[in-house]
Each structure stands twice: as structure tokens, then as C-alpha cells.
Amino acid sequence: MSYESPIREPLVTGGKGYHDITEGVLAPLEKKPNMTWLAAFGLSAMVMTMGVSLIIWTFFEGIGAWGLNKTIGWAFDITNFVFWVGIGHAGTLISAILLLFRQTWRNSINRAAEAMTIFAVICAALFPLIHMGRPWVGAFWVLPLPNTRGSLWVNFNSPLLWDVFAISTYFSVSLVFWYLGLIPDLASIRDRAKNKIAKAIYGALSMGWNGSTRTWHRYEIVSLILAGLATPLVLSVHTIVSFDFATSIVPGWHTTIFPPYFVAGAIFSGFGMVQTLMVVTRKVYKLENFITLSHMDAMAKIVILTGSLVGIAYATEFFIAWYSGNTYEQYAFINRMFGPYWWSYWAMISCNVITPQLFWFKKVRENMLLTFIISIFVNIGMWFERFVIIATSLARDFMPANWALYTPTYVEVGIFIGTFGVFFTFFFLFAKFLPVVNMFEVKTLVKDDTVVDHGHHDDHGDQHSHSAEAGVSHSH
């Protein structure tokens, strides 16, 4: 059986037993929402409402309400799309790849990261949809539906169409994976629920989970299969997003390193967002014993790895542009650095390549304030990366007569801010009504020798025996 070296830092600190995990994770869920939560939720909902209003305005007015022009047909919208899709990748990496690699430190962060994935993909999917201007007829453009227009089909040759399939598959698998992981914990909540409505809702959601050996056995097989299916998805989604650009002949877009570079960047941005959320969540929900400093340390290491990979990709692109001897390529990169959008390029470099290097130091990795700040820089930098790629390349195309610049209108900026409202509204709802830490998986990490003699729990009038909690729930 597995053995752990004594020099490794424990993944659950504070001598927590099974029951402490249940109590610790479910405390915010079973209490009435406090003012902080209500204020944060209310603010997010307001921002979301603003975004939705501006989307409705866009439908009413047409995408002329945005700052796009004849030269720059993709800008804020597609930048935001790629930004949000990228953020989703950390969840899939944690849930699928780290599961296959048997990395148990994923156990306490996977739930929130997977939730983040789903919400981020929802925000992402919004942008191509509204960019169509008339999404209600969009079904004919993006879905291969039989239609009455003769042999008019979607363009199977287009990576934009592959994107539709890739992202919808990704979303479905992530959602199923996340929900599957929730079921045993939902059953725990059901069993602890004090009021009837909560019991009924959590009971329905937990799908009659009874915690029997057979149920667990099936559960484990399904998780492993889903992890196997989700692993290629981590690569495929952002690979195809990169194809949206790289299959073209636009200098700065067409480069063969795009697929792995986009994937690395996606994981980078995703972990940046996970760090941002975790620093806050562990503090507010007092989960420091479950999401420990060594978890934050491990995430910081992934950020520095992927950030450096992205940095190498920038360097490679730049070097090969020179090496190629192709004037257009060379110009595209000089233009990125010193052209009209120079500030976005340098914002990207400083946020993505330079600041994450601070994570080389353990002191920084374990300082939550610095981690939070650097993770915000990562989020900003990765947004700028997509803006740099999309807008600067289009702004200076092959025909100088077409050269143009792009300025977003308040509508676009508002919609982008609105997606943060969408994201956080969902996230706060999640954090209130579902356990943000995967309880049963964290329980596998502790050796609870208090099961028999840890007496103080009886004071709580808790009807559950510890052994049942270890198995997550009673069989009924």
C-alpha cells in the first residue's frame, strides 16, 4: 500500500479527523448567509445584470455597437472568449490529469477548480454566440443540421466549427465530472440536513447515493474513465482554439508552436485564477487546514512552470520570426513590441513572464498576499496576451491602406466586466450551496484514529458515527 515519506508536508493540517472535515467544509453551507456573502453576491449579480443588459442592447443595435471595424473584425470579443476558455483549463487539468498522476494534493482543490471551469466556459461560450449578432439563427451556422437550404452545410473545414464541437464536448464532460464528484458529498449534506426542503433538494441531487461498496466501486470506475476522456480534452480544446488563428496566414497568427503554447498558456491562466479564488476562499471559509500552504506552494510551482513555458514560446516565436527571413513575420513582431499597441505587449511580458518568476522563492510561494497579487497579474497578463495576438496582428495587415486601430466602446467593456459578474454570481452561489472542498476525497488523506475515542462530537448531538462519515454517508 501507499507509503508517505515523513519529510512530506501533510495535506491536511491541524490534526483534523473525518468529522472535523465534514464540519469544517459544511459550516458555511449550513449557516444562514452572512452580510459579506450577501454583499458580494449582490454586487456580482448587479454586474451580471449590467452585462446582460448590454448584450441585449447589442442584439437590438447589432454588433455595430462595438468598436470593430473593417480591418479588425475580432478584438475584445474573441480576446474575452479565449481568456475565459483558457481559465477553464486548470479545473480539467486538476480533475483529470492530476488524478491519472495520482496527485493527492488535488483532492482539496478539485471541486472549486472544476466549478470554476464550468463557469468560465459559460462566460467564454457567450462571446462567439453574441458575436454572431443574431444567435437565434446561429444554429444553422454552427450545427450540422439538415435544413431546407439545399446542400448548405456548416463549413467542416473551419476550425471555428471544430471549436463548437470541442467546447461543447469539454463543457459536457467537465459538468458530468464535476457533478459525479459532488454526489457522495451531496449525500452527506442530505443526511445532515435539518429542514425538509433542503433534505428533498439534496436528496434528489444525490440520486439515491447509499454509500455501499458496490456504489463506490462503480463510482471509482466511472471517475477513472471520465478522467481518461477528459485528459485529451485538456489538450484538444485550446489546441483547436489556437487553430482558429494558426490555420490562417496572418503574420503573428500562423505559427506552428501555437497548439502547445496555447495549452500551456491556458493552464497558466487557469491556475492564476484558481490561486486568486483559493487565497480568498480558504481565508473567508477558514479552510486553511484543508487548502494548506503546501497546496498553494504546489499551485505556484505549476504557475511558474507554465508561465515559463509561455515565456519560451514568446522567445521562440520572436527568434524564429527573425530566423525565417520573412519580412512580414519580422514586422509583426517588431510591431507588437514597438507599434501602436506596445503597451499591451509589455503588459503581457511583465505580467506573464517576469512577475511569476518571483515564485522561485519559497517565501513568496507561501505568502498569501503576494500570491494573490501575482495571480491577479497572471490574469491580467493572459488577457493581454490574447489581445496582443488578436488585435495587433489584425491592425497591421498586408495592405497598408487597410491599416486601422481599434478602440472598444463602452458596450464591449461593459459586457466583458459583465462576464465577471456572471462568473462570480455562479461562484458565490456554488460556494454557498455546495461544498467547496471535496470532503470524501480529503478524508482519504487523513488517518483518523479518533474514530472510536474522539468523544467531544457527541456533544453536538451528531447522529452519525465516524465510520459512516468516513464512508461518506449512511446506507439507508
Binding site: 515519506s5 505559427t255 506552428t256 501555437f258 514560446a313 521562440t316
Partner: protein
């Protein structure tokens, strides 16, 4: 249980046999490739017509320079090269400068300039390669092949340290001696460059009319070649040596400090590795097709490096197990090595398709020419490459047993190592020999790989036998003994 590896006489004999076989194959291959010149010319005429029908204006250039040359009235140069190929087989490297005095020959030969333009697209060498070029080709293929395996050793140990991995500690000693070959491989490449460079690399000679080529000279030049490769050799070697030294000290003295020292060394080494590995793969391999470029190229080489390194490691572990060593290494460890072979074969395919699909899709002549050459003249090998490096390991290593049983790992591992050879051969040869390649060259290159691999393994086992096969006092050793892949 014996823990110090003693080289059995049989192994010594086999390794010398391997080197002998390598030399033999090299000789046979070179002989075959020369004998076939007559036949080759015939074949050349055959493909010649195909090319005529396919010749397009855009296929002319492997780059803008060629197009520029055409515009400047040098369009007959391609024809010259061709003619030169017909009449001056031996030793004439076809570079910008050699054209000047072969113009006459060209006019006597044939004047169709159109088909050569298509051929020219592929490589700069339209003439059949000289004997020196063929030896040089085998030399570089063999040296790059074995160097990649030895680089895997240091890279893998570095990754494991940075990831705080425990499972591999039981096979750590198997990985440590890989570094020993790195300076040898680097010296072989540098020697190869100075002896055969002008036969292989367009940039090793003057190319006054080739603007694109000249634009790259700040990077593609002998000084950078020697300095960068030398630096790589020195740093990788020093890092490998540090790890080895710390590991032996840890055996003797114990404590946590050695692991920490090695981890810090790995953190310093890894960024250097990431940057320098790109550099050497551009210099040594990509610059063979001197006008062509691809940003993913170093990642492609990296993926191949990982596959062949993991495979070699697995084969060595199996061999040691069969000899009765490494008693605490179990199917679990082999399973994980097998997973790496499996996963990185898929990763290689992913990188392959990323490069191929994007170049195919964009259809830009200066990039597409790379695959056009391989389609026109190497299609069999090209298809075999994908079959053997992706479909085969993907299917063969899918099951649990395939990753754990000695017999299956050995068979699959051998096939993968052969597949890696095909891939590397396909990266080097078209830029050197173009359509004039033949089976002899493949055999010769295989011979060189086997020769160097034999030498590598001989030194490897000698080095392996200088220390116990199992580390002592490593903080994660016990974890590795209890390693469980969970399936």
C-alpha cells in the same frame, strides 16, 4: 542480493557484437548506396516527370530567396544544379558558389528549368550526395539519436527533483549514468560539423546570392555552433555529475541536505535546459533544411527525446531485473515507465499533427516545401513514421499487462527505438539527399546508430557498475519501494 552491477562477459560480447554490427551495416549501407547510383539516376528520371507535371511557380521557392533569385534572372540556377548532379556526382556540394562554373555543363545537359524548380523546393541539394555527405548524414543521425537518449537522463532526473517525486527513487541509479555520454555526443556533433558540414549544411559554405540564408548567418555559423553545443555539453554534463556526486554522498553520509542540493541544482538547470535544447535542435537539425523554419520544431524533438529516453530506461530496467538485480523494483515502476512511453508517444503525435496540420492548412510554399519533399520522395517512410511512432505504441501499450511484462516491454521498446530512428532519419535526410536517397543510406545511418548505441551502452554499464544499483538514505526511497500505480 548483489547490489553492485558486474558486467557479464556475455553483455560485453553482445555490446561489442552490436558495435561490430553497426560498423558492418554502415559499410554495407554505404556500399549499397554507392552501387545504386546508376539505378538511382534511373529512378531519378522517373520522378522527374512527376515533378514536371507538379511544377508550380510557387513550388519554386523553399523560401522567398529562391523566388527572389528567380526574379533577378537566376532562374536557371536550379537547372544548373540539376545538370551538375548528372555530371559531377562526387564531392560537388551544391551551393550558391559552385554554380558559377557549372553553367556550361548545364547548357549541354538539358535545359528544362521547370521540373527542377519543384525539386529544388525540397532541399538545396539536387545532386546525389557524395560519399562524404552520406557518411556525414549517418554520423549526424547517429550522434543526435544517442545524444537525445543521454539528455533524457539528466532532464528526467531534473524534473523528478523539481516535482518532489518519490516513485522513481528505486530506479534513480539507472538514470544517473546517462549523463556520461553527453560530452561525447556533443563532441561527435561538433566533429561531424567540421568534417562533413559543408556536405550537409547549406550554411557551412558561402552563399552570396542567397539572401535568406545570409540573413540567418548571425545564428547559423560555426562559432555559434561550437559555443552553443559546447555550453550545452558542459552544463548538462556538470549538472549530471552534480546529481551523481550528491547521490553518492547521500549514500555515504545520509541526511536531507543532498536532496535539497540536487533540487536547487535542478531548479538552476531546468530553465537553461529549456532554452538551450531549442537552440541545439535548431542548429543541428532544423538548419539542415536551411530555408525552412517551424516554431514547434524543438518541441517535436523534445517529444521524441522523451519517448526514446523512457523506452531505453524501461529496457535497461527490464534487463537488470532479468539479471537478478533491482529486487525492489516492481511491475509498478515498469508500469509507470510504460505509461511515459505511451503518453509521450501520443504527445509526439500531437506535436507532429500540430506542425503538419498547420503547415498543410495554411499552404504557404516556404513552409509546405518541407512536407512536399517528404511526400514526393519519402512517402513510405513518412507513413511508416506515423504508424510506428504513434499507432503502434498507442495500441500496443494500451493494456495494463503490456506495460508490466518483460517480454512485451522489450518487443514494444525495440520497435519504438526503431521508430525513433525513422523519425530522426526523416528529419535529416531529405535536406541532404533530397530525391536521391536510397535504402543504402538508411542502412548506413542505422548502422551508425547501432554503433554509437553500443558504445553508449558499454560506457553506460561501466559507469553503472561503479556504484550500488540502489540508493541509500534517499528520503523518498521507502515511498518508491511502496509505489503503487493504483491500477
Amino acid at each position: 542480493m548483489k547490489d553492485i552491477f558486474e558486467i557479464p562477459d556475455k553483455l560485453k560480447k553482445n555490446l561489442f557484437g552490436m558495435m561490430g554490427l553497426g560498423v558492418l551495416l554502415l559499410a554495407i549501407g554505404l556500399a549499397l548506396s554507392s552501387i545504386k547510383i546508376g539505378g538511382d539516376d534511373h529512378g531519378h528520371e522517373g520522378t522527374h516527370e512527376e515533378h514536371t507535371s507538379m511544377a508550380l511557380a510557387d513550388a519554386h521557392g523553399s523560401n522567398g530567396a529562391l523566388i527572389a533569385q528567380a526574379e533577378e534572372g537566376h532562374s536557371h540556377q536550379a537547372g544548373e544544379e540539376h545538370a551538375e548532379g548528372e555530371h559531377h556526382e562526387e564531392g560537388t556540394v551544391v551551393n550558391g558558389e559552385t554554380h558559377e562554373h557549372t553553367g556550361a555543363a548545364h547548357e549541354e545537359a538539358h535545359g528544362e528549368g521547370d521540373h527542377e524548380s519543384a525539386e529544388h523546393g525540397g532541399g538545396h541539394h539536387t545532386a546525389p550526395p557524395s560519399m562524404m555527405a552520406k557518411i556525414g548524414l549517418s554520423w549526424m543521425v547517429g550522434s543526435w539519436y544517442v545524444l537525445l537518449i543521454s539528455i533524457f537522463g539528466v532532464f528526467f532526473i531534473g524534473v523528478k527533483h523539481l516535482a518532489n517525486a518519490g516513485w522513481y527513487v528505486a530506479i534513480k541509479r539507472v538514470l544517473e549514468p546517462f549523463y556520461f555520454w553527453i560530452p561525447i555526443g556533443i563532441v561527435l556533433l561538433i566533429v561531424g560539423y567540421f568534417v562533413f558540414g559543408d556536405q550537409l549544411y547549406l550554411w557551412a559554405s558561402e552563399t552570396p546570392d542567397d539572401e535568406i540564408m545570409n540573413g540567418k548567418r548571425p545564428f547559423l555559423n560555426p562559432a555559434i555552433f561550437v559555443v552553443l553545443l559546447g555550453l550545452v555539453g558542459a552544463v548538462y554534463f556538470l549538472y549530471g555529475m552534480t546529481i551523481r556526486k550528491n547521490s553518492l554522498k547521500e549514500d555515504a553520509e545520509g541526511g536531507l541536505s543532498w536532496l535539497k542540493k540536487s533540487t536547487v541544482a535542478s531548479a538552476i538547470f531546468m530553465p537553461f535546459f529549456a532554452l538551450s535544447f531549442s537552440g541545439i535542435s535548431w542548429l543541428v537539425v532544423m538548419s539542415i533544411d536551411a530555408h525552412w523554419f517551424s516554431t514547434i520544431f524543438s518541441v517535436y524533438n523534445f517529444a521524441g527525446m522523451f519517448v526514446m529516453g523512457a523506452t531505453t530506461t524501461a529496457l535497461i530496467v527490464v534487463y537488470l531485473k532479468e539479471q537478478g538485480y533491482l529486487p525492489r523494483v516492481t511491475g509498478e515502476h515498469l508500469h509507470d515507465l510504460g505509461k511515459f512511453m505511451f503518453a509521450f508517444s501520443i504527445f509526439w503525435a500531437y506535436i507532429f499533427i500540430s506542425q503538419y496540420l498547420l503547415i498543410w492548412y495554411a499552404n504557404i510554399p516556404e513552409e509546405g516545401v518541407y512536407y512536399k519533399e517528404r511526400f514526393d520522395n519519402y512517402f513510405g517512410l513518412f507513413a511508416l513514421n506515423i504508424a510506428i511512432n504513434f499507432f503502434f505504441p498507442f495500441l500496443a501499450l494500451m493494456t495494463r499487462n503490456a506495460k508490466r511484462q518483460y517480454a512485451s516491454l522489450k518487443t514494444i521498446g525495440m520497435v519504438i527505438l526503431f521508430g525513433r530512428f525513422i523519425d530522426i532519419f526523416l528529419m535529416f535526410t531529405p535536406g541532404v539527399a533530397g530525391e536521391h536517397w536510397n535504402l543504402g543510406m538508411l542502412i548506413a545511418a542505422a548502422g551508425m546508430v547501432i554503433l554509437q548505441l553500443g558504445a553508449f551502452l558499454f560506457l553506460y554499464f561501466r559507469n553503472l557498475s561503479t556504484a550500488p544499483l540502489t540508493v541509500k538514505n534517499h528520503p523518498y526511497l521507502e515511498e518508491s519501494y511502496h509505489h503503487d500505480t493504483g491500477v
